[in-house]
Symmetry: C2
Subunit: 209 residues, 2 copies
């Protein structure tokens, strides 16, 4: 956000009890391990999971332009959990009555303004398996641009501010490293890992191309 | 885990209040957004973060063998939050008095039995920015093997069972897709995204190699 209306600011952080929360909860899991020993584990869960049995989708996107190199659209938004602007691929929760593909097309349109075509859907992946049961699917999507470069209107919810940034696929890794150095910016781990995988394939000398 | 002593089993899941938890907590964040509107957000946090200001490291590892293709070691373990076996890169929390590099070398030795050399350390990345402030650094490490293929002993904590699986870098993506299809197995999102980035670089035709 180069010119936000004003900088978001946290005014208060307080303990929240699972009894009082609307979106997320803590649970204590009691289990027996492989040796038969009883153990416990603490886990954070979402209260919103629907029939898909998967919480969320992220859209790995490729923009193809007649005269420009293949690019991807990143979204930058203020995230209160980090009190920072995060750099991510467009993403969102899957509604209770949606498939992953439907959620991907809907959320991509809302956050970027573009209609996209789904090219692949990953298996469900565990977001942070030591701490939560949250999971997601990576949906690869493609947008074919004409010559017109005007950005379509986003369909954001009241109060949502999402900045769109287009970077070429070849520049993506370096741009993410740059963003990470900026004050109050942080790159989301899944996006960074995808870019790091591309970078590793290109530069390590250990991958057959 | 092809032959665990017995299958782990969850015996009870109960609501946990932040007041009573040891490892993780829920917080309510009150903040003013870019338009100056007061809003709230719910977040899950770790109670264990130390001086590094980063929670965890994951070790993207490369094993170099005199006569075998470059490979990586994956770890498979039962994760109570998912009631499943997760396929991940070795990872762990950074202790209060450690740097990311130190934690990486220590945790890698504990989980794999191998001494490694750190080749790069990523910026801090946000694990799941909509839900938590949890963050991590991807530490790339290298192990040079001699001709001896015997697995060194792990240094696991009481009750920890971590299976080690070596896959070639060229097979990694396909193996992760296979694991995802197995009953009660799930691949961690960061690992999957790294592999998907490698796969995309090699196969999409959109990346200069």
């Amino acid at each position: 956000m180069s010119h936000p209306d004003r900088e978001p600011a946290i005014t208060r952080v307080s303990d929240l009890q699972t009894t009082d929360s609307r979106w997320i909860a803590l649970h204590k899991i009691e289990y027996t391990d492989q040796a038969g020993t009883p153990r416990t584990w603490e886990v954070a869960t979402r209260k919103t999971r629907g029939k898909a049995a998967v919480d969320a989708v992220a859209m790995g996107n490729v923009f193809l332009h007649p005269s420009k190199p293949p690019s991807t659209m990143l979204v930058i938004q203020y995230r209160p959990p980090l009190d920072a602007y995060t750099v991510e691929w467009p993403a969102g929760l899957i509604d209770a009555d949606e498939t992953a593909e439907q959620a991907a097309v809907r959320e991509f349109k809302e956050e970027t303004g573009y209609d996209c075509v789904v090219t692949s859907v990953s298996p469900a992946q565990a977001a942070d398996p030591g701490m939560t049961n949250a999971n997601m699917q990576l949906v690869m999507v493609e947008v074919k641009l004409g010559g017109d470069d005007a950005l379509p209107e986003q369909r954001l919810e009241d109060g949502e501010r999402i900045e769109r940034v287009m970077v070429t696929l070849d520049d993506m890794y370096d741009k993410l490293v740059e963003y990470s150095k900026r004050d109050r910016f942080v790159v989301a781990a899944k996006l960074f890992h995808f870019a790091a995988g591309m970078h590793f394939a290109k530069t390590s000398g250990h991958v057959k191309l």
